[in-house]
Assembly symmetry: C2
Homo-oligomer: 297 residues x 2
């Protein structure tokens, strides 16, 4: 028997210009009955209020890279986001003794990732949750991120169970009503699932889940000064989750030359042309498409 | 006989997070023969280098609202963009005695405006140029902006003849290779037209041009504190240039209620859900679709 989920945190505005989460939080704060369920408490957390106010991703640095244990313990880190991370960690605790059982982190992306459940780790509980969400709506895709070491810098690493919702394509600073509604429905599906589990009514789950496992990221072609030399190829733009075969077009130089994918196996790129990843040296993240047994999970 | 065009300025990065123009300028600066023509000089101008470096629209305020004559003459305006506007005005002159005959201002938008020629005024020369570009590529649409008073705050108002290229949908901070190439082709078509005119080979033009004349802008529904109450309705999202009839869905509240267009006549909205216009109180700009005689222009 799964242990009961007693407290759920819904987090938005970890990146201040990802407006879907920001406005969903406002809605939930104005009408808290929407996220109320009988068997657990739901709380909302606007993670980066200053960046949200300015409609920027961050003030000094990416908040979602400020949660490594050694950074949280480092008193010399005093940027706005470092201080904010420490305050959030004090509120949400750390994974060993968090008052939160499960965290839903709301994100959007300029990549065409539709409705994506992004897991940090393969945990039976969140894999089952993901399989349920995918069974409810086959358009929901499930990814497992690149594994971090012992200490992950992401906000959701503070709590025992978590998933990020990545929804796109949405331009930064913009609300897309259709994707807003679909994200809200997905949150309700998560909360309803947790309620059912807590009440001992586990839904029938599929035997298998298609999981896109992140392998590594690819940077844009750059010159020795780091300057961009090419763009995502038009044949790849908005083709997140579609197979990319060796030799397929990957980039287009400013002069109009095609650069092909040089890998040896077919991969499934995601986060293609995410605006915030130019500065991180990420043009896309390559994944492998895997079948994961849910009964074994 | 039209007076010869002797100097053309191609301006990019007026908004630092509109990357198409920024990278087209870099390309033209590295391979200046691309914009070289025999009968006129072409120069490039990166309008807002500091905002471009930070990949932000602006540092202190929107540069493209800093060019009103009274602001340029006001020594008390000393923000980064105010100083930059004064420097650009010193370089490009003012409309009465500018060393530039025609200016092409490169912009992108998160709205689905495809390839748009945006004219500030109805001038025979730029109407003919626009008719030519539309005849070459019927996907090119031509808009005339809301008229400003005696003093316009836009960069392109400094010079006698100008057009802005508005290309979208492109998320801020992102390069879209296909739209990059289409924008470049459009610039070449402008330069080739000017060359032909200078050489006395005016192309055969259509008799009429479809012109979308901006009438007024519409703000999002907001509460008394200015807080957003609704989003662009899914039925209107990405439908720039399509007819909006009285009673058609316009906004969707966060609670899911549809707000209909209340006007009395059919209009053609543009700049629908442009990210940078939330702060300006503009959800879209309504236009009238007009036929303009080119022979009379």
């Amino acid at each position: 028997m799964t242990e009961a989920i007693k407290r759920v945190a819904i987090v938005g505005g970890t990146h201040g210009n990802e407006r879907t989460g920001v406005y969903l939080l406002k809605k939930f704060e104005q009408t808290p009955e929407l996220i109320r369920r009988s068997t657990f408490d739901s709380l909302t957390l606007l993670a980066n209020p200053a960046a949200t106010l300015l409609n920027q991703r961050y003030i000094d640095r990416d908040l979602n890279r400020c949660f490594a244990a050694e950074d949280l313990a480092n008193p010399e880190l005093t940027s706005y986001e470092d201080l904010r991370a420490k305050a959030i960690a004090a509120e949400l605790g750390s994974i060993q003794h968090s008052p939160i059982d499960l965290l839903i982190d709301l994100h959007s992306t300029t990549a065409n990732m539709g409705l994506t459940i992004l897991l940090s780790r393969r945990q039976p509980f969140t894999l089952k949750l993901s399989a349920h969400l995918n069974a409810l709506n086959p358009a929901v895709r499930v990814c497992c991120g690149i594994r971090w070491g012992a200490s992950s810098p992401m906000l959701r690493s503070l709590v025992p169970l978590s998933c990020a919702l990545e929804v796109g394509p949405i331009a930064q600073g913009v609300l897309n009503a259709s994707l807003f509604q679909q994200t809200e429905q997905l949150i309700h599906a998560v909360l309803d699932y947790l309620e059912a589990i807590n009440q001992g009514h586990s839904p029938v789950l599929p035997d298998q889940l298609t999981l896109f496992q992140a392998i590594h990221s690819i940077d844009y072609p750059r010159d020795s000064a780091g300057e961009l030399q090419a763009m995502i190829h038009p044949a790849l733009q908005f083709r997140d989750y579609e197979p990319l075969h060796p030799g397929d077009p990957m980039f287009l130089t400013f002069a109009g030359e095609t650069i092909a994918y040089q890998g040896e196996s077919t991969v499934f790129p995601i986060f293609i042309n995410e605006a915030a990843y130019y500065e991180k040296g990420i043009a896309m993240v390559l994944t492998e498409k895997q079948q994961v047994a849910i009964t074994d999970a």
